[in-house]
């Protein structure tokens, strides 16, 4: 069932049964005291378009709920303390070993508390899924241009959620105080210490003295269960509120305009579907958690600064940072003015901050370049915005190369190639990959637009060959219906901005820069088909 948002709410009159009487009375009681009916009326008619890609954000939301539930269970048994204890639990290869209370209690959760291991694995798998779903959701929003006015701020809030989720993941990963996470923390410690002037002091502040110190777990615990979740929930609330205020975007289609939303209202069908969907996500996570080990801290052992394991990597969402560190060529640190400048670390910090900054502010950058101040509620098909799609592909490639670099050692052993070969290939790909991806994607998009134009004008090739009385052979083209054609031809046509002098009659440098960017964006383009062309095309 699909309805449009502009349709008025119809009161349905039904014969009231005794059960119905109670419901009515209860609803009335609550409404008279809270005036909640206004909210229900508004929210209940919130329309959700029915394309699958619009549900990825929901996946992230539901995984987050699973994380909250399982995390609450874990807090009952976890001891956020680095006090030394001797382990006497069930896991044989650690019996009698001195370790922190945090690690010991995590072992107890895994082996001696009923359901503890399942909850730990649910929590961790859900965290991986949470951030993966956020990533996919962001890619959907980016490639369909759903971040354009009026949704730029909501994109930014979503980006903040993404960063918060990564921070949540990293702090949580460090809590068990096992060898793997300790090694990861040491890498972060090195990265922080690489910051000029203040690095060492920040590191001392974080770890309470020289690494590893004895206060980190307690500190991270407060951040992980209190501070970050509070900010995350608040930002999530704003994110959802803005989604309701701005309404959903939708793909172009018959009856879908910039002024309406076609889809299913929350109440009753969508709410039921979404509720079911939550349990499906929960089920998928529990199924994975019950079958597959994640973060087997018992094999990693307690943290001790001396050992380090081969194949130490962070969880996937921090992988791009680890990969960036692995790709830095040797010899990038030097001594100047009596200070060591660790550009092997500083360059990584700069690259990551610039990359994340571009992601965060992309909507504003594109808005400025295009000079487009209109509201957009119809999403683009990625091919119809070739330059943006190409930029996205370049960004994805850049991220993917960094990400892959985090597993360089595993690629070397599993594909029987040299570690140096992997690193050097990825170093080259980090520069060349995005350039190649940009050009290939842009050309593919333009080619697809040409194909769409051809199909819209002349229809599909039917494969039916007809011989005309004169002896000529033609292939019969199947024409599209108007509905199908609408999907292909309705997109915005941008042209490069003209350089215009400002009020003082001057052309500023910024304006020149902007127009050159605009030319870069829109120089290569395929114009949408005009009405005239369609009418002409029909005669073929």
């Amino acid at each position: 069932m699909t309805v449009t948002a502009s349709r008025p709410v119809e009161a349905e009159v039904e014969p009231i049964s005794s059960g119905g009487k109670f419901t009515t009375a209860a609803a009335n009681y609550i409404d008279e005291r809270t005036s909640i009916s206004g909210l229900v009326k508004e929210l209940g008619r919130k329309i959700f378009p029915d394309h699958w890609s619009f549900m990825l954000g929901e996946v992230a939301l539901y995984s987050f709920i699973v994380i909250l539930l399982s995390g609450t269970f874990l807090t009952f048994f976890f001891q956020p303390s680095m006090a030394e204890v001797v382990y006497h639990g069930s896991y044989v290869p650690l019996k009698g070993i001195t370790m922190s209370a945090a690690y010991s209690s995590t072992l107890n959760i895994s082996f001696d508390i009923r359901g503890g291991l399942l909850f730990r694995q649910v929590h961790h798998w859900a965290a991986l899924l949470f951030i993966a779903a956020i990533g996919l959701h962001m890619l959907r929003v980016f490639f369909t241009g759903a971040f354009r006015k009026p949704r730029e701020i909501n994109w930014f809030i979503g980006f903040v959620l993404f960063v918060l989720a990564m921070a949540e993941g990293f702090t949580g990963y460090s809590l068990p105080d096992d060898l793997l996470s300790g090694n990861g923390l040491r890498i972060i410690d090195g990265l922080i210490k690489g910051i000029p002037v203040v690095g060492t002091w920040i590191s001392y502040l974080l770890f309470g003295g020289e690494f590893p110190g004895n206060k980190l777990v307690a500190e991270f615990y407060s951040i992980h269960i209190l501070l970050l979740p509070a900010i995350l929930v608040a930002a999530l609330g704003v994110h959802l509120l803005l989604m309701v205020v701005n309404k959903h975007t939708q793909f172009a289609g018959p009856g879908r305009t910039n002024d309406n939303v076609v889809g299913v209202p929350i109440l009753p069908v969508f709410a039921a579907k979404a509720g079911g969907f939550f349990f499906v996500i929960f089920g998928v996570i529990v199924l994975i958690a019950s079958l597959f080990t994640i973060n087997p801290i018992w094999t990693y052992g307690p943290y001790d600064p001396s050992p380090i394991s081969a194949g130490t990597q962070p969880d996937w969402y921090i992988g791009f940072a680890d990969g960036a560190l692995r790709l830095v060529p040797p010899g990038w640190e030097f001594v100047l003015w009596g200070h060591t400048w660790s550009f092997n670390m500083i360059s990584v910090i700069i690259v990551l901050v610039v990359f994340l900054g571009l992601v965060a502010f992309y909507p504003f950058i594109e808005g400025w370049v295009t000079g487009d101040k209109r509201e957009h509620h119809i999403t683009d098909r990625p091919r119809n915005a070739p330059t943006r799609t190409a930029i996205g592909a370049a960004g994805v490639t850049f991220y993917a190369v960094l990400w892959a670099a985090a597993s360089s050692d595993l690629m070397a052993t599993h594909f029987k190639i040299t570690l140096e070969g992997v690193i050097h290939t990825l170093q080259a790909l980090l520069i060349l990959g995005p350039i190649i991806a940009y050009h290939v994607t842009k050309r593919v998009c333009l080619a697809l637009m040409k194909k769409d134009r051809e199909i819209a004008l002349h229809g599909y090739e039917s494969g039916r060959i007809v011989r005309l009385p004169g002896g000529e052979y033609i292939e019969v083209h199947e024409q599209l219906s108007d509905y199908e054609r609408w999907r292909l031809v309705s997109y915005e046509d941008y042209t490069p901005l003209m350089i215009r002098p400002n009020r003082q009659g001057k052309i500023t440098g910024a304006e020149r820069f902007r127009s050159s960017l605009s030319r870069w964006f829109f120089e290569d383009r395929i114009s949408p088909i005009t009405k005239g062309e369609i009418e002409q095309g029909g005669h073929h």
């Binding site: 029915d50 699958w52 929901e58 291991l117 080990t293 973060n295 969880d315 070397a412």
Partner: protein, 290 residues
Amino acid sequence: MKLTNKELPQHMAKNSSTATRRTRSRLVKSKGRRSPLATIALIVIGLVTTGGAYALFSSTASAETQSSSAAANQSSVDAGKKLFAANCATCHGLSAEGVNGVAPSLYGVGAAAVSFQVGTGRMPLANQGPQAEQKPVQFTDAQVTAMADYIASLSPGPGIPAKKYLGGNDDAAEGAELFRVNCAMCHNVAGAGGALTEGKFAPALSGVSAEHIYEAMVTGPQNMPVFNDKNITPAQKADIITYLKYLDKNPSPGGIDLGNLGPVAEGLFIWIFGLGAVVGVTIWIAAKAN
């Protein structure tokens, strides 16, 4: 992550403590109460006693690996010599002296090195590469023993480990601790293996026999350093074996272990199967009923 590239070729990896040299004192004829040679004789006796005692003490630590090789009989050595000439001499030289730039000398590598290299199928080498790859074992146990006896007969070296260290029923916790400190940096904390430089690698340790683990520690094959008996005592080696056997016998309590490869395997799994399943569900939910 740093990778260490400690190259210790086998010919350098001989156990110095086993290089026992015995000097023989000649009988000094004594006619009078004090001969002018008495002083020299005393010095010689003193040197022999100290040297012998030193050799005895320092070799007790490695004596554990010598026991079985001492029992090697001559027929086994002869059989081993023939097998060596037929299968190994091309590279290692007719009398195992090594060929410069091709293969190391086998003097002093001991029976343990032969048992490990041939017993795991690494030798005879299939082809020159960054390091010897494992392949199906080409010889029977008796043949491997014969070759080991032959090599051990040439020059002393680490022998086949005694059975009492290979039972896998010692202290797993101590073994796990030693493994994390000494082995995990190359072999990965779960023994899943890891990459070294220039195409070399530390192999996975699951399913490796206790004897071969012990022999690898005392001989240091490929790029592995030697962990001699003073570095890690035989009892500690037995603990390490116990831990590795524990990992072999007890599958991960958390379910399928995804190769024990850590977060990369987990990330790959959640993106392909986790997110894949979830996206499948979203498509199903959003599908229009026909």
